[in-house]
Symmetry: C2
Amino acid sequence: MNNPEEVLEILLRPIGVIRTPYTTAAGTPIQTVYGRGIQGEVVVNDEYAPALADIDGFERLWLIYWLERARPFKPRVVPYRDSREHGLFATRSPCRPNPIGISVVRLLSHEGSRLRVADLDMLDGTPLLDIKPYVPIFDAHSPSAAGWLDASDEDRKIADDRF
Amino acid sequence: MNNPEEVLEILLRPIGVIRTPYTTAAGTPIQTVYGRGIQGEVVVNDEYAPALADIDGFERLWLIYWLERARPFKPRVVPYRDSREHGLFATRSPCRPNPIGISVVRLLSHEGSRLRVADLDMLDGTPLLDIKPYVPIFDAHSPSAAGWLDASDEDRKIADDRF
């Protein structure tokens, strides 16, 4: 067998849920930068509230979540920001083999098991898998060439129903 | 029940594997910025090779992977970059409820199902879950306040065996 790794199965359980104003893909910002100011809530299951200690000092967080309503994997897609097909892994489209989303959001406040957040691009009720602090020295790399995205003149910021 | 989401179980299957020079946590860079220039390989299973089309133009990629050798979840940890305890979600420590890692790496070359990459901070053989292009307008936010990390004078860059 060429790929012994592919027999491994990994079981995840959500740690909570993300509450946003969006109920359908069509009309939802395609990235948090296009959902600037849109507010919502991150609610972790009670057992995880103690793990939020000291999160308040971070201006931004990574939310890692499950794109549960994405359509099945396709190896090539026409992404929102272009009119031509690209390999799925060269895009941020949601129809991935493991549909995991990562989004940078701004932390507004924290109380108990709840975080008030802004700059949202995910659907209401999205299962939350992890929260990590956003750290510029680890995460911010600019300039960094971005292939077809740098060359595209398609300026779409809001999703339609293609995925 | 307060948290209906917690009954959801999500099944993932790795899409490939990450090859790095590191075989034990102790001695591995704690973030890719501290593994600068360290080279390795991303090998996707053959069925996913077509989904790598057009990835070549991206200078950096996100690797999303399974921290399979991390110790079990602890709600509070003393992270590598401080000498005091913090809530797990205010740290990048690997002992998370869903131990998913995200790392920005530099793409050096692409051939078929293989990517040569640099700036590595994960163990050899780490199961790969997803690859996304790094896009500065989506991902680079600087300055962005980073809580205890901004205040710490602990300058550790290489892991020990605590996680």
